[in-house]
Amino acid sequence: MNLKLKLTSISSLIVLILLIGMTQTVNAQKVFATKSGQIYFNATGALVKIAAVNNQVDSKFVDATGQIIFGVLIKGFKFENQLMEDHFNENYMESTQFPKADFKGYITNIKEINFSKDGTYPIQVDGTLTIHGVAQKTTTKGTLTLAQGKPTIEGEFNVKIKDYGISGMYIGDKIANQAVIKLNCKY
């Protein structure tokens, strides 16, 4: 009788330990997500300012693996004027054919981030950027800021427009050869 009771208590203890272990692993695998990140790009060449913003960046990352994704709809970019927006969609990005741009990669130094301690951590990101249906390997640096445990990622990509098969007679003239893409995602 006594032994039986002992055994039951041991087994329940083991189950408890296992359960705790499981929840810990799940905790360590936290996925951070947002649908309202901001992306801004600037491709100003000569004279005319060519810049746009999109406030509907869809992004997620996993703290344990550093896996990170960003996705954005091309038609969601807002320019200073409608005509530019139409040209951007129809003549350059061909957004009917290629409605999205995305980035899939890893924060390679994710282990250096202490998610229980607020602060700003530099991050290194490696991955594949797909724009206009063309995928290119890319790396960049950014920051991850923790405030009350909530992360905000900021980063910047420098993109050679022609690398992504985007053509047009104004590239290199009114439109810069390189576009700066800036991201800000609060998860």
Partner: protein, 300 residues
């Protein structure tokens, strides 16, 4: 005891499996951003097909300065330099109050007309959450002809010089290359020459845009007059839209001279059959008066 061990082993395996599933969260397998609402943009390249209103509005806070030129008839021959010696013009300003509501004013040298219009987009062609196969807009135009008519037996009232156009625009973008618009139109004259002429004239406009390259589109516009004013022809215009940065150029050949709804729909004196055609062009230059709110709240 054996039972217990087996139980433990089972639990351990279960635990490991759970761990394993937790570790393979794969974000790359996900497909974010499904298109919620996809509004058709750029049905036409600018707010006019050529002479007539197109389904397009200027964006919110955008001022569009338009200069329109119509030359003389080509069949006048070399002495008149195929019509290029003569020109009439209209200068106008259009402004987008909201993304669906725009207003515009203009002045034509032809008959010294002033005109003003309001255009409201009631429905936008879209797919996604809702499927709407076409866009619908209303345009109301008031035209004031300030030219002094020589033959009046009385001093005309100010209201006599007004005429009005009401149009409903139905447009559809079939693909990136082809868009079509139907434009039922009612023209109203406050005063006409004699009692035998009605004050109201109905007509049906049809216009399309065919893209031939990234920046060049062919446009054609025709109005079938259901009620006809004697001595005039149905207007037919064939044009080319050329886009550059902030401009749209429209070059065209038409049998109309006027640039207001009353004059080009109802009072087109030229005939395609007799070669009574004119060159013309429209230039549009846009200015951003009010930045979109999205661009004001940058986090950088």
């Amino acid at each position: 005891m054996i039972k217990l061990k087996a139980c433990l082993l089972f639990l351990c395996i279960l635990g490991m499996q759970l761990n394993a599933t937790a570790q393979t969260i794969d974000l790359f397998a996900e497909t974010p951003n499904t298109v919620a609402k996809d509004i058709a943009t750029g049905i036409f390249k600018t707010t006019r097909i050529v002479n007539g209103q197109s389904i397009e509005n200027v964006g919110e806070g955008i001022l569009d300065f338009r200069i329109l030129h119509r030359f003389g008839a080509i069949n006048q021959g070399g002495y008149e330099f195929f019509g290029l010696d003569q020109a009439t013009m209209r200068m106008g300003l259009d402004y987008g109050i909201t993304k669906n509501l725009m207003i515009g004013i203009g002045r034509s040298t032809f008959q010294k007309q002033f005109d003003g219009f309001v255009k409201y987009k009631a429905l936008s062609q879209q797919t996604g959450e809702r499927n709407i196969p076409l866009s619908i807009s209303y345009v109301g135009t008031a035209i004031y002809k300030s030219l002094k008519d020589a033959t009046t037996t009385y001093e005309p009232y100010v209201s006599d010089k007004f005429s009005f156009a009401h149009q409903i625009l139905f447009a559809r973008k079939f693909n990136d290359y082809f868009s079509l618009q139907l434009t039922p139109t009612l023209l109203h004259y406050n005063i006409v020459e004699n009692v035998n002429i009605p004050n109201d004239f109905y007509s049906l406009g049809i216009g399309f845009r065919q893209r031939i390259s990234k920046r060049v589109n062919i446009t054609t516009e025709y109005f079938y007059r259901i009620d006809k004013l004697d001595g005039y022809y149905d207007p037919l215009t064939v044009g080319v839209d050329i886009e550059t940065g902030g401009h749209v150029f429209q070059l065209h050949v038409s049998n109309s001279t006027g640039m207001t709804e009353r004059t080009f729909i109802n009072e087109t004196a030229g005939s395609w059959g007799k070669g009574d055609l004119r060159f013309g062009f429209n230039i549009s230059r846009v200015f951003t008066l009010k930045k979109p709110k999205e661009l004001k709240n940058l986090k950088f």
